[in-house]
């Protein structure tokens, strides 16, 4: 009887698991995935380049104001071979990483505090959402007043831009922890800090990642606005170079830096999406 049940259990488990699709080989799956995410992007790039070329050909603006893709990529090719270009990227990315890291720390702390404390939520819950919708450029006059033309002014605005999204992501994640999980937590004896550590925080991770992703895009925008407005002497950042190209009427160089800024944005977005997808796969939320 006992062995009979055991065999039935194993048999049913095997049958039910076999019903799920067998996993493809990882190398092949990776190749398919890269191709699937790449071709729409490539097609979009080709269409944009073609339209751009057409606008230039139409003679709507003279070529020294609006150069075609050819001269722009030529300028870009030249820039890439210089040390100054990579130094600019280094300066800008260092600001982005430092500012964004501070934003994560502050946003997480504020979000956790607001989610845990009812009075605090009533006091500043809607303030956080208000801050999130505020265009970060608005802060610059104040930031310059506070910190003068300095790194501090840029950091201030980057943090103010990103932290509210990160805090809101965490607050939403905590608010939407499924009640059944909370009941399990209560049954297992989770209370106070252990409840946060073992249930609330891990359960809110997907929403936190989404908030962080949005926070990054706000940080990046704030940083670019900051680099155009607050040009710190000796710090030739991407924004400073962009502004410099405009001052010198160097249209191809200007567009080349815009392309670089766009590419960095896209690359970071790909990294965030990869993290998000990995999380979804672990949790079993992804369809494919």
């Amino acid at each position: 009887m006992a062995t009979d049940t055991s065999a039935r259990v194993r048999g049913l488990d095997a049958l039910e698991l076999a019903a799920q699709a067998p996993p493809e080989s990882t190398a092949r799956r990776l190749a398919t995935k890269v191709w699937r995410s790449l071709w729409p992007k490539a097609l979009a790039a080709v269409i944009v380049l073609a339209l751009w070329h057409l606008v230039v050909l139409s003679g709507w603006k003279s070529e020294y104001v609006l150069p075609g893709p050819g001269p722009v990529f030529e300028a870009l090719g030249h820039e890439v071979s210089t040390a100054a270009f990579w130094n600019s990227i280094l300066i800008t990315m260092r600001r982005a990483v430092v500012g964004f890291s501070f934003a994560i720390v502050i946003g997480t702390a504020v979000g956790a505090a607001v989610a845990a404390n009812r009075a605090l939520r009533a006091a500043i819950g809607s303030l956080i959402t208000g801050l999130q919708t505020m265009p970060s450029v608005v802060w610059f006059p104040f930031a310059i007043l506070l910190f003068k033309i300095s790194e501090g002014a840029i950091m201030f605005v980057v943090i103010l831009g990103a932290a509210p999204s990160i805090a809101n992501g965490l607050i939403n994640g905590i608010d939407y922890v499924p009640p059944t999980w909370k009941r399990v937590g209560a049954v297992l004896g989770m209370r106070g800090r252990s409840l946060y550590r073992h249930l609330i925080l891990p359960a809110s991770l997907p929403s936190f990642v989404a908030g962080t992703k949005q926070g990054w895009s706000f940080a990046w925008r704030s940083l670019m606005a900051g680099e155009l407005l607050v040009i710190v002497v000796g710090q030739l950042s991407l924004g400073a170079r962009l502004q410099g190209a405009r001052d010198l009427n160097d249209a191809p160089g200007l567009l080349a830096f815009i392309v670089v800024i766009l590419l960095i944005g896209i690359l970071v977005d790909i990294a965030f999406s990869a993290a998000d997808n990995a999380l979804r796969r672990r949790w079993g939320l992804s369809q494919a």
């Binding site: 049913l12 039910e16 059944t180 999980w181 049954v187 297992l188 073992h198 891990p202």
Partner: protein, 264 residues
Amino acid sequence: MTLTHRETVGTDAAAPTEVAVRLDGVSKVYGRGRSALVALDGVSLTAHRGQFVSILGASGCGKSTLLSLIAGLDPITAGRVDTSGHRVALMFQEPALFPWLTVTGNVEIALRMRGVPRRRRRPEAAQLLEAVRLGGFEQRRPHELSGGMRQRVALARALAQDADVLLMDEPFGALDAMTRDLLHDELERIWRERLLTVLFVTHNVREAVRLGDRVILMSSRPGRIQQEFPVRHPRPRRIDSSEVAELAATITDTLRAEVARHGH
């Protein structure tokens, strides 16, 4: 509505009749004033150690509320719940496993909350998973398992609490008949091996008869104990046997009358 349960003890009379769970006139009211809802009204019930008690009722009879009260998840409005020092675990219809943990992680978290030291958790979890016949699936993620397997992980997690009273809230309600049948056998085996006291809530009459030493029928709105049926058929029982079907038919008739009462 007080019932004496002495004559209904399914295990033989010579067995020690240590009380595991005792409810005395337990009531639960949600809200207050005009909108107050009486979920449970004066429920008294005694479950002896090692007993398997099926609790049966139509919707709105407060079966789930009853288990929440016994587990201490909800405050009681009136009456008394006494689990006299027994550890209580509760299982739900959904396995509610944590997706960020592996199968063994989901069991180990229960051990951790119980204060089991780190190096003993992994082997203990492995033993519990072996007990629900999930050895070899330790490193899987919950979403990679079938519904029946997930519910067995939830059972292993409940056992990890080292509880001797197991409260089950329609634990097999979402499973197909074949899997459910199998899990009945498995639950019966584990119940016997570990001398558990089980309070098993269901709306499936045959399931109640298949598993229980006693079947307690509850009335709806407010939830009260309406009647109790001892099940004396020898184990192992089959859910499709004529003895089970016969008693189930009697209980179903009573249940139907109770449901019809609310139609008037």
